[in-house]
Amino acid sequence: MINSSLKQLGDMLQAKKISSVELTQTFLDRIKLYNPSINAYIALDEVKTLAQAKVADARFSAGNAAPLTGIPIAQKDIFCAKGWPTTCGSKMLANFIAPYDAHVITQFDSAGAVNLGKTNMDEFAMGSSNETSYFGGVKNPWSFDRVPGGSSGGSAAAVAARLCAAATGTDTGGSIRQPASLCGFTGLKPTYGVVSRFGMIAFASSLDQAGPMAKSAEDCALMMNVMAGFDERDSTSLNRGKEDYTRSLNLPLAGLKIGLPKEFFAEGLDASVGKVIETAIAEYKKLGAEIIEISLPNTGLSIPVYYVLAPAEASSNLSRYDGVRYGHRAAEYTDLMDMYNKSRAEGFGAEVKRRILIGTYVLSAGYYDAYYLKAQQIRRLIAQDFVEAFKQCDVIMGPAAPSTAFKSGEKVDDPVAMYLQDIYTISTNLAGLPGMSIPAGFAQSDDGVSLPVGLQIIGNYFDEARMLNIAHQYQQVTDWHTIMPNLDKPNLEMPEGKV
């Protein structure tokens, strides 16, 4: 049951083969068993969760259930959920109780889904390994001495370990897709503006986008049907009318033009990851796709540009945490300035402080043109690369991350090495395009552990349904997405028959 698709679970609930309370309890029991070692969840509330499950069961009895009614979903702790602790992985918000619901939470509530709990994450979503969380790192379910990726590391581990039916994440520079690759599941970052940012704690507002993290493309499509949609409370929410993201799942792929950017296969990509990606592309050829080599010449610049724009926006967004109205306040201080300085020094972790300082620096007098304006100009060049590419192909494919999951602690003291984890994902955020990562196989690490590899699919604006179709068709002829880690015996040898 824990490995069933959302549709299968929905059918079982509808047929009353199982109640939502029973299903929810199954996941809560698994969480109790495995969360102490994995640390995927940082807030659990059985009473609240089971109360929602009871309401869901009542909806089935009353005959007004929706597709995700009764399904237990893990929520990234970046989303405000009324009455729940909402910390964004930070000491700054360690005692914050959300006074209202994020739009995403409201959508799941209206659908009758069950909130299983809040998941761990890099502090304020700044990180690629979940190691910047104030609440400690998260174990990669495939290998407990490795990271799950980040920033949506808790949601990633929860999906991979089957500690939820599906989860939400957010992706500012790769925070859904890189962990999806490192933990071996399907994650989608929609086009910027498709999912409302209302009630989602801001990191870099022009890049932040929420999306589903789930076991399959079909599950992600069902999640998107709930999450996406216009919300006037987000000034950049796009008013495009409701879409059914499952509508194209079963279309054949014959004639599909797949562009492979040569920059995604150049130096910096682990050979073992490259091999898995090539095998996946070969599978697409069998499905009738045509492969075209393309170029995204400014890919290498996406990281420098991102590390100007995202910290600049973050330094502004995080200025609200001043110790005055809510959040951490230093116990002792001499005057107002000292109160600000100490509260922020104590409340923020090292990586968040670094980014605030970088952002403050690039926006400070005399440097604006050299950094911020320059980065915005190159952002346009990066976006134009994609416009040119999509004249030649329908969809772009490549690796989602340059390597498989790395060991905890390996990159903690080297921010630049950590930033390079997002080399293949950041450019889509800068361009505002949708991107996904789907399980494409396993690669052997140097110490002999089999670790998942994700294939990235980048689509044109608003092509989510098409991308989900492309992913779904692959998942009809492969079974990588169904393979689960063995939590009682992590640090696995290759799953049987999958060498």
Binding site: G83, F96, I97, P99, Y192, G193, S206, E232, S235, T236, L238, L301, P304, V305, Y307, V308, S315, S319, D322, V324, R325, Y326, R329, A331, D335, L336, M337, D338, Y340, N341, K342, R344, A345, F348, K353, R354, I356, L357, I358, T360, Y361, S364, A370, Y371, K374, A375, Q376, Q377, I378, R379, R380, A383, D414, P415, V416, Y419, A431, G432, L433, Y461
Partner: protein
């Protein structure tokens, strides 16, 4: 351009983050590395390129000037900070939202 300890202290002051002497040295090394990465941008000729702040060409939406927020006083009160002077817990439970003196 090379960052100095003074730059770190100035930026930390602007960002209202206390940085000790030893922190400043460590921060200087890390930020120098990050700025080195960022410097790659300077090799690109961006003459005449329109800066891009946003991926969609959006104009600001306007709405009717009506009340849209509901009263969430009780919920907000749950996050009301204490001042730590002993009497404040009572004050918060009495419905006051206590903040330090911010006008000097």
């Amino acid at each position: 351009m090379a960052l100095s300890i003074e730059d770190i202290k100035k930026v930390a002051h602007l960002a209202r983050i206390e940085v000790s002497e030893s922190d400043a040295v460590a921060t200087l090394a890390k930020l120098t590395g990050i700025l080195g990465l960022i410097e790659q941008m300077q090799a690109v000729d961006t003459t005449g390129i329109e800066p891009m702040s946003h991926s969609q060409d959006l104009s600001q939406r306007l709405r009717e000037d009506v009340v849209t927020k509901t009263n969430l006083r009780d919920e907000f009160q749950k996050n009301a900070p204490l001042l730590g002077n002993g009497s404040s817990e009572l004050a918060v439970s009495a419905g006051l939202y206590l903040v330090p003196k911010v006008i000097e």
